[in-house]
Amino acid sequence: MGANASGYYVRVPVWSVALRLYHWTFALSCITLILTGLYINYPPISTWAEFMPSFSMATMRTWHFAAAFFFMSALAVRFYLYLFGNRYEKIQDCTPVSVRNIKSLFHAIMFYLYMLKEHEARPGHNVLAGTFYCFVVFISLLMIVSGLYLMYPETGWIQSMGNAIFGSQQMARFIHYAMTWFFIFFTMIHVYLCIWNDIFGSEGIISGIFSGRKMLPADAVAKDGTIETE
């Protein structure tokens, strides 16, 4: 394509090990939380067979709580990386806080709407994705706060915090559940756009979240001059 006249690509290290670990912990815990959460909200099967213990609700809850702790740890790592990660992981790289980033935001929107052919050569997140991820992190915080309040309703500071934010258990329960649908929604869009980007872009972003490297057009990297390559 036009911007990459040379036709060469270079491999650029983008994501640290910590970020990749965060991503996969977050992803797997999210899936576990969604599946067990949907069961907990409305157990579709009643185990009426009394001859055999199933302990299904208790087991689902245990998985849900275990996954919740992985989810929280993952999020803590992401917060750390937002502040102290490499230049592509920092919060100011992926949110529309500079002219360059605002341009990237619109570029991504146009690209996704098939209005631009050119994929932006950019080592970190495109700003549309980055901004949306920030939003996801924010909703995750809400999930954590409501989840903790539901799980430890009698614990002093958690109770005070929950009462102040949600007013009652039932309200927290409602928000916790409604937000589950947001995560289902997000997972769908995220997976779809990753596959789509893998097809229409050249970066190989799916392998990137395993390897931490992206393939960027050599010309663009040379023009930028600050991007470290392998």
Binding site: Y42, S54, F55, M57, G167, W181, I184, F185, M188
Partner: protein, 364 residues
């Protein structure tokens, strides 16, 4: 405490009387050493009177008190503790009653126990509920500062109750929303277990202070744990055995009522432990908990036979749908959008490649 004096006032033998004190002590989580103290406090000639005000309510809380599980416990309060003013129970009427109210307030200023039953009307200056020509708001603001202790009984007095449900035309609020500079004990419930109320009064009479309260002002001895954590159906919950509809096999087998809307997991109260009238409680009788001890329960806990409240769609006035449906539609919509997006992409790619091949044909 003289036994003769006791007998004159109360149809209780000393043995029964001590039993009542012991059960109150147990309800409060106190040891047996508290029993003589309670007995002494209740029979002390210096014990403060109780003044009971009715605001916007249905008198169900008084009714529940009159049907207290051990009638002895209620007799204790009604006969022994002087109940100087209670609109439903007192003999006096009219000006005489109002005079005795104010006399008692003045004579016992700083000592009496003020019990409020019913929500306080604040809308339009409180004109929607008046007793003896005075609005509830005026009465409360006049009497509350002089009380030794204030106890709000029932969901109306604690959180506003049914009249505070949206759209709350009368501006009904709980006592705590009006009396901000004094601790108010909230005995929540619709109606609350009379024992929780009686035990609180006995605690105050015995120790001269209020029991430990949670953030919402409810005594921890009674509202410290969720219904769900002490429910006798809980093993069925953990096992995944649920009633699917009322009257089905699971219902007959006594399974968990979670799927027919039980709000036990979101409700703090001691109903499973301190049963009503020592006989039973809603979940024991086969009906889910409706969460009546929680703030805003008429709005938040309904529909009573659903797990979660419905959502009001802002566009359609008065249209309520389940959160579940909104979520499913949003996800289905997104899936359709993604499919459309993908189809567009494939179509474009096909077109481009055709154009490309013809273009490149020209160039070469």
């Amino acid at each position: 405490m003289k036994e003769k004096e006791l007998h004159g006032k109360l149809s209780l033998s000393r043995r029964r009387f001590l039993k009542v004190c012991a059960s109150a002590a147990a309800a409060l989580g106190l040891g047996s050493e508290a029993v003589p103290k309670i007995a002494e406090a209740v029979t002390s000639p210096k014990r403060p009177p109780v003044i009971w005000l009715h605001f916007m309510e249905c008198t169900g809380c008084s009714e529940s008190l009159l049907r207290a599980d051990s009638p002895d416990l209620a007799t204790l309060i009604l006969d022994l503790v002087s109940l100087d003013y209670h609109e439903t129970l007192m003999a006096a009427a009219g000006h005489q009653a109002e005079k005795s109210l104010m006399d008692s307030v003045e004579a016992n200023a700083g000592k009496f126990v003020l019990v409020v039953e019913g929500a306080v009307c604040t809308g339009d200056g409180g004109v929607y509920c008046k007793v003896a020509g005075k609005t509830n708001l005026e009465t409360l603001e006049e009497i509350a500062p002089k009380a030794g202790a204030i106890i709000a009984v029932g969901t109306c007095a604690t959180f506003g109750g049914i009249q505070a449900a949206a759209p709350n035309p009368t501006g009904a609020v709980g006592v705590r929303d009006v009396i901000k500079n004094k601790p108010v004990v909230n005995i929540a419930g619709c109606p609350p277990s009379p024992n929780n109320f009686l035990s609180t009064v006995l605690y105050y009479l015995t120790y001269g202070r209020l029991p430990a309260l949670d953030e919402l002002g409810r005594p921890k001895f009674a509202y410290g744990r969720k219904i769900h954590d002490h429910c006798e159906r809980r093993p069925h919950f953990d096992e995944g055995r649920f009633v699917e509809s009322f009257g089905d096999e699971g219902h007959k087998a006594g399974y968990c009522l979670y799927k027919v809307g039980c709000k036990g997991p979101a409700t703090f109260a001691n109903c499973p432990v301190q049963r009503f009238c020592d006989v039973n409680w809603p979940v024991g009788a086969g009906h889910g908990c409706i969460g009546c001890t929680e703030p805003g329960f008429w709005d938040r806990m309904s529909p009573f036979y659903e797990h979660l409240p419905d959502v009001r769609i802002p566009a359609g006035d008065g249209i309520y749908v389940e959160a579940e449906k909104i979520g499913k539609w949003a996800v289905a919509g997104a899936a359709a959008a993604l499919a459309g997006h993908a189809a567009l992409g494939v179509g474009k790619k096909v077109l481009d490649s055709r154009k490309c091949s013809s273009d490149s044909g020209k160039e070469d």
